[in-house]
């Protein structure tokens, strides 16, 4: 279905609203910092409203994934169409957007976290206009990645997101901000190059038939029958169909080594973003140096782009390669879980600890995806959403204490529970959600991921389950070190959490609690797509043999 506002599709609004806001913001006088803040807040709030509309009008029965008909809120227009470009032939790139049950939750998450991030950015005083302008640009980049269905468009948004992030860390960050920003930028760019190569290889291997009258894609056979000249395409959905590849081209066929290589290239590109061990070391640095709101965005949304890329691009386009690499992928997931948890345990910087806990929690997503059954993928996508909300809370919580004490040393605190009772209350929700306490959303998604994974990888899942104890270990230890015990003299004047900070945290806490008790509103959104994806990637016979 399509949904238009003022004749423009809702996904375009969602994506470009922040840029409109940014342009408006740039017109504001430099001195009116408050006007800049309020503009950003209103823009991101409108984005949340739009996302809520998407949620309301979202059809729970459409599968999406590999069919255009299954996609929702589809917008498609020819973006670039050059009839003949030297030896390229006809270059045709679409402005193609649409969402399904995989991207839907991410759209909601992006809108929500961007809004919360603005609240958390309120106390930015340095170059306010620049900060919020870049922030809104970043918002557009993130949203675009989740709604794009054309690989080229996807890639453009992927890169758009990179630039503002670089400056947001590099200018508004902590003492080592330049190192962190460059590390983040180069690392991601390195991944982007691999994605670009795979994308181009896919493009030149594809041959897609377009009906000259209607402009829609045709099935390969029908196209041949009509005698149309095929063209190359970046259309993600077309690329998922093996018949849309030129026979004999680089990535044609099934299970060829060039396909495996392309899969690996894409995988590394996405793995850096997740991040998957051993490509993760940019994350702790970026987090530690980034200002609070940017950490929130980074952990809340950016990391999901990696696993989203796996689900949207790598796996459905290369199901053959994915099946061959499912076990290594699961192993990487388990390494992430345990390595992240153990490394987190050894940290003495509060923020770094949360950064490593993110690595651990994203490992669960990877494990669930590797299982590629309904429970596993549902769990993984749900975990992406939940990790977004929970980790956002955790970073906000670190921000609250850092703003007051100007230190994040875990061993410098103690006894804050009595000094800052409200803060401690909100913190408890986030901490216990992070350690997977039932009744809070993190548990449901972790449990489902494990359920799915256990059906396929018994031993690995059992090993991964050790992470449950490790996570509880470092979370409770942190809680004890910071909040319990007696208050050091120097923190006797710390004020409790204020209204603005609560305004950022409470909505997240409510969502975490609500989805922990009743996850169906989110799961129902995903189900049809998850099942479609599982069915598409794992033929039914294979699924049955695996126990499901």
């Amino acid at each position: 279905m399509s949904f238009q506002i003022l004749g423009i599709g809702i996904l375009t609004w969602l994506t470009f609203l922040p840029v409109i806001g940014m342009l408006f913001l740039l017109l504001l006088p430099k001195k009116s910092a408050d006007a800049v803040r309020w503009t950003s807040l209103v823009v991101t709030f409108l984005q949340v409203v739009l996302a809520a509309l998407v949620y309301v009008y979202f059809s729970r029965s459409l599968g999406g994934i590999n069919t255009v008909a299954g996609m929702q809120f589809v917008e498609k227009a020819t973006w670039i169409d050059i009839k003949s470009v030297a030896w390229f032939g006809r270059v045709h790139i679409d402005y193609f957007m649409g969402i399904d049950g995989i991207s839907g939750p991410m759209v909601l998450l992006t809108a929500l976290i961007s809004f919360v991030g603005i609240i958390a950015s309120w106390n930015i005083e340095k170059a306010v206009k620049g900060y919020f302008a870049l922030y809104l640009l970043l918002d557009t980049g993130m949203m675009g990645v989740f709604v794009a269905l054309d690989f080229f468009l996807f890639y453009v948004f992927w890169e758009v997101m990179l630039l503002p992030m670089y400056f947001l860390i590099g200018i508004w960050g902590g003492p080592r901000r330049e190192y962190a920003a460059i590390k983040f930028f180069l690392y991601t760019l390195f991944g982007s190059v691999l994605i670009l190569l795979a994308m181009l290889a896919l493009y030149f291997s594809s041959s897609v038939y377009i009906d000259p009258q209607t402009g829609v894609f045709l099935a390969a056979e029908a196209g041949r029958a009509m005698g149309i000249t095929p063209i190359h395409s970046f259309n993600l959905i077309a690329l998922m169909d093996p018949t849309n590849f030129t026979p004999g081209s680089l990535l044609a066929g099934i299970g060829t080594s060039s396909r495996y290589i392309a899969f690996i290239a894409l995988f590394i590109g996405f793995a850096i973003k997740v991040p998957i061990f051993p490509f993760h070391t940019w994350l702790p640095d970026a987090h530690v140096e980034a200002p609070t709101a940017i950490s929130v965005i980074l952990a809340g949304v950016l990391l999901k782009m990696g696993t989203y890329g796996l689900l949207r691009v790598s796996i459905p386009i290369f199901p053959d390669a994915f099946r061959a690499y499912a076990i290594p992928l699961a192993i990487l997931g388990v390494i992430n879980i345990l390595y992240g948890a153990l490394a987190a345990m050894a940290q003495t910087d509060f923020k770094k600890l949360i950064a490593y806990s993110s690595i651990s929690h994203m490992g669960i997503v990877v494990l669930g995806i590797a299982a590629m059954n309904t429970q596993g993928v549902s769990g993984a996508v749900f975990q992406m959403f939940n990790h977004g909300t929970i980790t956002a809370m955790l970073f906000l919580i670190v921000g609250v204490i850092y703003d007051r004490a100007h230190t994040r040393g875990l061993n410098e605190f103690g006894g804050l529970a009595n000094q800052m009772p409200k803060y401690t209350g909100v913190m408890s929700v986030a901490f216990f959600a992070a350690l997977g306490l039932p009744g809070l959303s993190g548990f449901v998604s972790e449990a489902f991921s494990f359920l799915g994974a256990f059906a396929v990888f018994q031993t690995l899942t059992i090993i991964a389950a050790l992470g449950i104890v490790l996570t509880a270990g470092y979370m409770l230890w942190t809680l004890q070190r910071v909040f319990l015990g007696t208050l050091p003299e120097k923190w006797k004047a710390l004020p409790d959490i204020n209204g603005r900070e609560l305004a950022a945290l409470v909505p997240l806490a409510v969502i975490v609690l609500f989805l922990g008790i009743y996850p169906s509103p989110m799961l129902n959104m995903m189900n049809a797509s998850v099942n479609t994806l599982v069915k598409f990637v794992t033929p039914v016979t294979a699924a049955a043999a695996l126990g499901f």
């Binding site: 987190a344 345990m345 309904t374 549902s378 359920l451 059992i462 007696t486 599982v534 069915k535 499901f548």
Partner: protein, 700 residues
Amino acid sequence: MNQGDLLLLTIAVWLLPLVGFVLLVFFNKRLPRQGDIIETGILGLGLAASLVILFAKLFSFPDAVISTSFTWVDFGNVPGVGHLPIKLGFMLDNLAAMMMVVVTVVSFLVHLFSIGYMKDDVRYGRYFAFLGLFTFSMLGIVISNNFFLTYVSWELVGLSSYLLIGHWYEKRSASNAGKKAFLVTRVGDIGMFIGILILYVNFHSFLFDDIFGAIAAGKLPYGSGGWLTAAGILVFIGAIGKSAQFPLHVWLPDAMEGPTPVSALIHAATMVAAGVYLVARLFAMFTADALLVIAYIGAVTAFIAATIAVAQNDIKKVLAYSTISQLGYMMLGLGVGAYTAGFFHLMTHAWFKAGLFLGSGSVIHAMQHALRHAGDHETDPQDIRNMGGLKKKMPLTYWTFVMFTLTISGVPLTSGFLSKDEVLAGSLAFGSLSGHWLLPLIGFGVAGLTAFYMFRLVILTFHGDHRVPHRLEHIHESPRVMTLPLVILAVISLFFFYSWNPFGASSGWVYRALPPPQSIVPVSQQPASLVAAGAEEHVAPSVVMAETMHRVHGTTMLLSLLVAGLGILVAFLAYQWRKLNPESVKQKIGPVYTFILNKWYFDELYQATFVAGTLKLANLFKWFDLTVIDGVVNGTASITRLFSWFSGRFDNIVVDGMVNGAGYVTGFFGLVFKKTQTGKVQTYLVFAVLGVVILFFVFR
């Protein structure tokens, strides 16, 4: 009242404490008396309703299992499976109804007691809020009809236990104890979680009904009985953690850092019994091997804990180890197949152990008061070596404490005698049928030890003279709100509440209400000795067990009276009449005494291996991350920069050198030939003539 209403009432009893929790957490400062009356009132209502439920259940629907399920999550049309919902729900059978009464009775009395005990506490409202959260979670385990909700509630009781143990979190030992309790039980929970995964992956449901039905129909996990045993044992590992069984018992003694009423409610009567309840709930799906593991874990636990209890001097630590030991008894009972006895002991234990803890709370309360009065902050109010002679000052506490001690020691006319005897009879019967004689041996031995260390506790605390005589003047009996619960618990520890026959419970209502469930596992996996004994007449193993227990009942009674009497006698000889000198005994058994005094060094062992190992590994990974992985990343950057420096130099020197060189060369020639450009016509003429002359010679 019809079945639906009954279930509705059950769910209401479950939810009410949650309402109280929410109210108190958010508004405790604004509520009158910080809301203690609200929570206590809710629990009073809950207790009344639970009693109604139990009576209605036993009288109107004694054999019914009332349950309801709802779809919690729907996975839609799952490839290869079809439509797949996750159903959850609630159930009410006799077991659940009785357990509800156990929980609400103890919880209500503990609430009542806490009003006195926790008076003027810094976080009074928060304390009651968490008691409410605990009761809600505990009742969740009781009425859940599926593994999922059980697991959820299981973790939530863990949370409330964590919060309440750490109630006085300013004390490092308290926050450590809470953390330890949560983590150690979570180790067990992993086992349970994996067990549940095995069952879910095979049966696509969490409902007990679905899973039991499938197993009964011959569908085994992965088609093998070994996996069924494994699933059973794994789920039982969860119970090992929660019910503080060996080797995960180490958290319970530390949990005594919590307020004493909490110890009574959570760490004696109810939460730690959740593991036993779970085993009883799933009894039918345990294979013979799994049951044997349960029995041995129970027996070993009972023994280890009893030996440790003998050497402890902290009143609550003695009771903590006694709890572990008694929980071992319950597991032993269930493991050998004395199902009813195991659960019956859970129930009687709940009364007498809650009573003992509340009694100790009354004592500690009085001691603290006296010590505060004397301005003494050094003396430990919980150390029984600082007590003595409290009998005269605290008669109600004393007499109820004696009553509970008699009950736990298994003296006739008490409920403890009835239940413990049945457990012992079960172990003896099982021993005689299967040849596992170690089980009854430990059972009877521990009975003797129990009687000994409990009477040692009573004598040292209440008898003789007070350690510091003048302190006794400031020792007072606790207020009524604290002694009333003691009296109630003492009264319901009498035998006639359970059976008119003081020497056998098998004719009582408990046995009628809780017949052992029929095993659903394949016959080949049921206890071979029991199957064989009934094979010719085709009698079910549970019936064989019941008959054998009946046969050995007389022997059991005599033996248990003998060991209990012996234990009591030795305690009196050593501590009351001073005929035996405990010090010289300690001297004589030197290393053994040190060993049990130090709790078999479990804490030290775990600290040195698991805790230290994990931290070492964590630090290793941190180092690896910073040095190796980031080394590679930064190394790549450095190498790239090095290359770029070289290529920069190359560019500057070689490439630019060539470019500039070309420039220089051109410039040089320019300089040279510049000389010829003099601008004088005569010179050009000379050059032209010279050129012509040269050309002439060349082309000649």
